[in-house]
């Protein structure tokens, strides 16, 4: 199918984009990489009357460092993150997650900002962003604000971005100390979306015990969530096989688990526990 008729505008600056969004509160949609929006438009599941293309705005795609803080522009593609040697050193969870998104074409056009704003319940970035305690910078008519990852994902396809706001930047603290990170997912064989995706970022003390653990899970519920039960069980433990397995059993606690034709609720719960265990084992082994 082809999309329903729409108007298209490509502003040159972010403030122009924000102004356009404010002028058309109900009918406009921001176009970033387009790899979630355009397929929906072609199926006529989304029918915006105006597309505001932010791809022509200068300086929205970048990977920078401000001291120990990494700042990634919203229009940075998954490929740019996947192929960054610097990120592989200071925040390896980012390129590891990016490499598992969709396929080559999606990674070349899709953007981290677009993925987060769309908040697909089975998208990969939300899990990593929660595990990294990231901050999201949104700009709207009344100025800028910073949203913590834990407050960003509200429900299925729904974020705490207000209707007139555009996601501009993602901020992550560079990893330090004895850190280990991993992202593991079960891809749905046809779509590549995460049936279950677990992102882990942990640190070990000099003696080897778990000092901190941050775990984001996607694909399991209506939105990506923090697996606090697992984190609490992990911190202080020796990160041995039994401790990890015991902690991972809490992977799907406290959430309404999704069931679909590919994976029932019970199967997804099982997958969540298994993949949480595997991701923690990998992260723990990498924490030198």
């Amino acid at each position: 199918m082809i999309p329903s008729q729409f108007d298209y505008v490509a502003p040159a600056t972010l403030s122009e984009a924000v102004a356009l969004l404010a002028q058309h509160p109900d009918e406009a949609k921001i176009l970033a990489g387009g790899h979630s929006l355009i397929p929906a438009m072609k199926l006529r599941l989304a029918m915006p009357q105006l597309l505001i293309d932010i791809g022509r705005i200068n300086d929205l795609a970048y990977i920078r460092e401000e001291g120990s803080q990494i700042r990634i522009g919203a229009m940075t593609t998954h490929y740019q993150i996947e192929s960054s040697d610097r990120l592989r050193e200071i925040s390896p969870l980012l390129p590891e997650t990016a490499a598992q998104i969709g396929d080559v074409q999606v990674r070349n056009k899709g953007t981290i900002g677009g993925s987060l704003a769309h908040a697909d319940p089975a998208a990969d970035w939300p899990a990593a962003i929660i595990a990294l305690d990231a901050e999201i910078v949104a700009v709207g008519a009344s100025g800028e604000r910073v949203i913590k990852a834990d407050d960003f994902f509200v429900d299925m396809l729904t974020t705490s971005l207000q209707p007139g706001e555009i996601l501009r930047e993602i901020r992550i603290l560079a990893a330090s100390g004895r850190f280990g990170q991993a992202y593991m997912k079960v891809p749905q064989p046809a779509s590549g979306f995460a049936v279950v995706g677990v992102a882990v970022s942990l640190t070990r003390s000099t003696a080897g015990a778990c000092e901190s653990a941050s775990i984001g899970v996607t694909g399991v519920a209506s939105k990506a969530y923090r697996a606090s039960g697992v984190e609490n069980a992990l911190v202080g433990s020796a990160l041995d096989e039994q401790a990890i397995a015991a902690a991972a059993s809490h992977a799907a606690d406290g959430v309404s688990i999704n069931g679909d034709l590919y994976a029932s609720e019970d199967y997804r719960r099982h997958l969540a526990q298994v993949y949480t265990r595997r991701a923690i084992e990998a992260a723990a082994a990498r924490a030198r």
Partner: protein, 177 residues
């Protein structure tokens, strides 16, 4: 697919049942319902403009209320179609009084077809749960409004706020909130 669940409403069973069969209330509470017009005894035609996130569509259809046994039970039969797909469903609602609150038990079957069923199948369960939750949260607000007060306004964030304050109340067992 089967949909079932229970929702506790802090209002009397009579008030809740009244709210659940009143077309004016239903029109305000069903997410995205723009129109609910009587077409016969307990039959209505409806227009829904609804969806999740940016996946939205307009659906037209019919709603029929059957097997009405106030204030304990009725059955609702729905069918609708629109650009994103079509649905047919029926559900039984049973109301039980418990310590001044009403427990609404709902149990039904819904068949969804068309584009959303094919492409969006993995999100259907979550979307249905979300809409059921929005609906019952709105019904609670309606059932708690006295006859002389103006009807409450509903919308996603207002519903989310109400749900959150309800959650706070239940978790911390606060009585005045």
């Amino acid at each position: 697919m089967k949909i079932e669940g229970t929702h506790e409403v802090h209002a009397s069973r009579e008030r809740v049942y009244q709210a659940l069969i009143d077309p004016a209330v239903l029109q305000r509470c069903i997410p995205g319902c723009e129109k609910l017009e009587k077409t016969g005894d307990d039959s209505y035609s409806t227009t829904l403009r609804t969806g999740v996130g940016s996946i939205k569509g307009v659906f037209t259809g019919n709603v029929k209320l059957e097997d009405m046994r106030p204030p304990a039970h009725y059955r609702i039969v729905v069918d609708g179609k629109g650009q994103p797909g079509f649905l047919k469903g029926s559900g039984d609602l049973d109301l039980e009084e418990r310590n001044g609150s009403t427990m609404i038990k709902y149990s039904g079957e819904v068949q969804i077809g068309g584009t959303i069923a094919g492409v969006g199948q993995r999100m259907i369960q979550g979307a249905v749960k979300m809409m059921a939750s929005q609906f019952f949260t709105a019904i609670e607000a309606e059932a708690k409004t006295e006859a002389h007060e103006p009807p409450p306004t509903h919308g996603f964030f207002r519903t989310a706020l109400r749900w959150f304050s309800g959650w706070l109340r239940r978790t911390f067992r606060l009585t005045s909130m």
